[in-house]
Every structure is written in C-alpha cells, then in structure tokens.
C-alpha cells in the first residue's frame, strides 16, 4: 500500500537560513504520528511544504503517492491542514466559512457533514455568528473544522491545542482519535509532550531542520534508561557510597539519580549492607519530556 506521506531528500532554505536540510520520512496510512521539536526547528515549514504553501528547493513530498507539486489536485484533495496561526475571514459566519471551504473542494451539498463537524467541535450554537465575534479558542476550532470539510484521508494539525481550554482539548482529542480509528492518518505537532506521549504511535524529533530521532513512542520511552529512585529509609543517614548519586533529601526520603536500571541492584545491596531498612521505594517512569530534553541537549554537545 502506498504510504500516507512520503518525503525524500527534502531541503528548504529561506535566504541564508537552512530551514530544512535533508528530510527523509515515511508515514504509513492510519498512523498517529507526532512531529516534535523546539521553536524554529522546521516543523511548520515541513507542514507548509506538504500543504503546497511553500515550494521545496530539493526533494519530493508525496501524499498517498501524489506529488504535492505536480499532482497537486489529488494531493490536496487527500490532505487537511490546520495551520498554526489563527486566521479567519471576517466577512463570514462560521457556517458560511465552512460552506465556502467545502465549495473550494468541489463539494456542493455538504450540510450534513458540516453539521456533524459543528457538533463534534462544540460549535453548533456559534454556527451563525460572525467569525470576528468568536474567541481565539473558538476560531481555532473553526480552523479544525475547515481542514476537515472534505473528509481528507491525511490530517495534519500544527499545534491544534495551543490556546485551547482543557475541556475542548479533551473534546478535540476524542474527535481526532475517532477519526484515526476510522482509518485517517494523523500528523501532529505540539509543545505539550504529554499529549504526544499519550496519542502518538510514532514520533519524529526535529532539530535545526534535521530529524534527530525517529521511532515508536514505546521504543523511545524504553530506550531512555535514566530514572529517578525515590527511597525512604528508617534512618536519616544515607550510606556514604550513595552520596554521589544524591539529588535531593527531604528528611528520610532521598532522591537518587539512576543512569540506568542496571544500577538498581547495586544500590539496594549498599543499603542492605549499611543495615538501614527501606520503608518506601518508587522508581520514576520515563516521560517524553526527559527524552526530548536529553536528545536536544545531546545534539548541542556534538
């Protein structure tokens, strides 16, 4: 089966700034994919190239096998993009905006789906309100609806939850997940790493226009050995041999830095030998944020 997105040898520069320097990336159909990276890493540039809003200097981008420049019609029909910036046309109401957007995709009778979108995005009571009169979060929901009017197979969301309240964030994710379970491919960027960790099956980390990590969320988490051990002893004294690992002590509770799980046995042995008793013990789960920070820092050192 042709992949949802296929990117080969992609380069893009703005004047003297190399925004993307050689991206190769394949995203399969039905994936829930996360594109992470610090500000200015090139995430939006990559998305804009996919959307045909920018033209590549080198390389190709294909959506469901259609080249985004040469076969732009089929490529754009299969793609829905929620842009990062909130933009709207102040001349129209929410419903007019969605009807017009449908028309651009050649859809004349789209009322049924538009009503569904309004409902799922909690916009039904705003349907006939002018775009100007909506709050920022509501405008973003309209942007999401606009990206979906033509039921694209591939959906790309550039920071869809920036500036959106908790309740809507949940509604939005529930909706996106249901689309994913119906077979839509989802690509998303976000700075909320918990969101990426929770929803994305696979993640690419981008830094200064290059992919510096690309793996399933599971393997990324598993590959990260660094843990924190929180141990409460029956005495206030920590054995001297453990001092170098100590990060913080609160009374009898000590937080130790554990470079890898393999070191755990040794620590426990030292405590046992010292004669102290363990009253409580917990090991931190690695989260995506730790991995993100370590990968981004690694690259700086090189």
């Amino acid at each position: 089966m042709t992949p949802a997105i296929e990117i080969t040898g992609l380069k893009k520069r703005f004047g003297s700034l190399q925004a993307l320097s050689g991206i190769d990336l394949t995203i399969e159909r039905g994936e829930f994919f996360g594109l992470l990276g610090p500000n200015g890493a090139g995430k939006s540039t990559l998305i804009n190239l996919l959307a045909g809003l920018l033209r590549p200097d080198h390389g190709f981008l294909r959506i469901l096998g259609h080249d985004v420049v040469r076969q732009y019609r089929s490529a754009r029909l299969s793609l829905g993009v929620v842009p990062q910036e909130i933009v709207y046309d102040p001349f129209f109401t929410v419903r007019e905006t969605l009807l017009i957007q449908s028309g651009y995709y050649g859809l004349r009778r789209n009322h049924h789906w538009i009503n569904t979108l309004l409902e799922r995005l909690d916009l039904t009571d705003k349907a006939d309100v002018n775009m100007r009169a909506l709050s920022g979060g509501m405008k973003r929901r309209v942007l999401v609806a606009q990206a979906l009017v033509h039921r694209p197979e591939v959906i790309v969301l550039d920071e869809p939850t920036a500036g959106v309240d908790v309740e809507l964030r949940q509604t939005l994710w529930a909706f996106i997940q249901s689309l994913n379970s119906q077979g839509h491919t989802i690509v998303l960027t976000t700075h909320y790493l918990e969101e990426a960790q929770e929803f994305c099956q696979r993640i690419a980390m981008l830094k200064q226009g290059q992919i510096v990590a690309l793996d399933t969320t599971k393997s990324l988490l598993a590959s990260f050995e660094h843990r924190e051990l929180k141990v409460t002893l029956n005495s206030f004294e920590l054995p001297d041999a453990l001092r170098p690992m100590l990060r913080q002590s609160i009374g009898a509770t000590h937080i130790l830095d554990l470079p890898s799980l393999a070191g755990l046995e040794e620590i426990l042995a030292i405590i046992r030998q010292s004669g102290a008793l363990i009253e409580d013990l917990s090991l931190s789960e690695p989260d995506l944020e730790d991995i993100f920070v370590s990968i981004m820092n690694e690259q700086v050192l090189e």
Partner: protein
C-alpha cells in the same frame, strides 16, 4: 467548476456586503467630477461637433470609474487576504491557476460594471447619453475591466503591504487613467503629448468606449479594440503564469 464558482461567489459577496463603500462611494466621486468639470468647462469646450462637453465627459467618467474599481476589487481582496493570512484558505484547496484567476477577474469585472452602471444612470440627470453602439461600449467595458482586473491581481500578489499597493495605484493606475482623455480629446493636446497618449493603453479603452456612445472617436475603434483585446490576452497569460508558478503566494 464548483471550486471556481465558490471562489467567485465569495469574491462577489465580499464587495457586495460592503457595497456602500465599494459601489456607492465611487458613484458619488464620479458625480462630483461631473458636477465640477461640466460646470467649469461646458461653455468653453466642445470636443465633438454636436456633443456637449457634459455629454462628452460622461462616458469617460463612467469608464474611468469602471477601470479604477476593477483594479481596486482584485487588488484589495488579495492584499487583505495576504495581510490577514486567510489567503491560505484558497491556497490549500485544489484550485487551478485558471480557476483562481477567473474568479478574481470576473469579480473585478462585475464590480467595474456595477459602478459603471451606477455612474451612467445617475449622470443621465445631467445629460442624456444613450450608447448608440452598445456592443462596442460593452466590449470596451469588458476588456478595460479585464485589463485592470489583471493588473489588480498582479499588484495584489506582488505587494506585501498596503502602502506598496497604494503606490501602484497612485503612481500607475490613477495617472494613466487621468491622462487618457477622460476630460478632453487628445486632439486638443500639444503634438508631443498627443503622441505620448498613443502609448497609454488607457487612452484606447476610453476612446473606444466613447465611440460606443457617440460613434465618434480620436482613433479608429477597430484599432483600439485590437490593442485592448491583445493587452488583455497578454496580461491574462502573464497573470495565470504567475499564479501557476506560485509567485509570492507559495514561497
């Protein structure tokens, strides 16, 4: 086709929703010109035998208003969309360069004709000027608005800020339309300026349009029509090419 029709509908709605500024205001401006110039000059100038100066002035003013508004429509719509960023809504869908071009062009022509018709109707209170060759008048109106619609699209795509667009308008469109024989016949000009006028494409639009009203013109209407139609074809090809390449729209 639906894509084109939708974009056209959106563009028409855009100016129609604010028709007070986009249609009524320019009609009023043209009437002020008519009032002042015809009052000041009507006793001194007779351009064509048997045609009063006021009557002579009306088709020129109608055409000038049509041209300026055709330009304003496409250029201001594009620059607004670019500055506010909502241009992405028409760049993301699978609209072809031809559909994109056609929609902005037709909207410009419709705006031009709406204003032109308004000016013409109200001007009838001053002097009756029924066009005697209405087909010629319509042809020149169409090509004239088409040319300015193209120029508006080009300017709207090229300009990054409102003041760049204003410069295009104030330094190119307005002077060319004023110096095209709206207020006078070029035969009244000194020889040098008469020659120069022949290089002004706006002159042929206005002269040909006026022929449609009086059957009288400074140059043969067939020649004007060829020049105007060829300019329109050339500019259309250029504009579609720019849109197709994504010039300044898809960086």
């Amino acid at each position: 086709m639906t894509g084109f029709l939708t974009l056209l509908y959106k563009e028409l709605l855009r100016f129609w929703k604010v028709s007070f500024q986009t249609v009524l205001a320019p009609v009023l401006t043209a009437l002020l010109y008519l009032l002042i110039f015809s009052y000041v000059l009507s006793r001194r100038v007779e351009v064509y035998p048997g045609v009063s100066y006021t009557a002579f002035l009306i088709p020129g003013l109608v055409m000038m208003s049509m041209l300026q508004n055709a330009f304003a429509n496409s250029s201001s719509s594009l620059i607004q969309s670019k500055v506010t960023g909502n241009i992405v809504f028409v760049l993301l869908p699978p609209l072809s360069a031809g559909e994109f071009f056609g929609a902005y062009l037709v909207a410009s022509i419709v705006r031009g004709f709406s204003v032109g018709l308004g000016v013409l109707l109200v001007a009838q209170f001053y002097a009756s000027t029924p066009p005697i060759h209405i087909i010629w008048a319509l042809l020149f109106g169409f090509f004239g608005c088409g040319i300015l619609g193209c120029l508006g699209i080009i300017a709207g795509i090229w300009a990054e800020k409102f003041d760049q667009l204003a410069a295009f308008q104030n330094f190119i469109v307005v002077p060319l339309s004023f110096l095209s024989g709206v207020f006078y016949s070029i035969h009244a000009l000194p020889p040098f300026w008469r020659e120069m006028s022949h290089f002004n494409p706006f002159f042929y639009m206005i002269d040909g349009f006026r022929y449609g009203f009086f059957g009288l013109s400074d140059v043969a209407p067939q020649l004007s029509l060829i020049i105007v139609a060829a300019s329109f074809a050339g500019l259309s090809a250029l504009t579609i090419g720019l849109i197709h390449r994504g010039y300044k729209l898809r960086g």
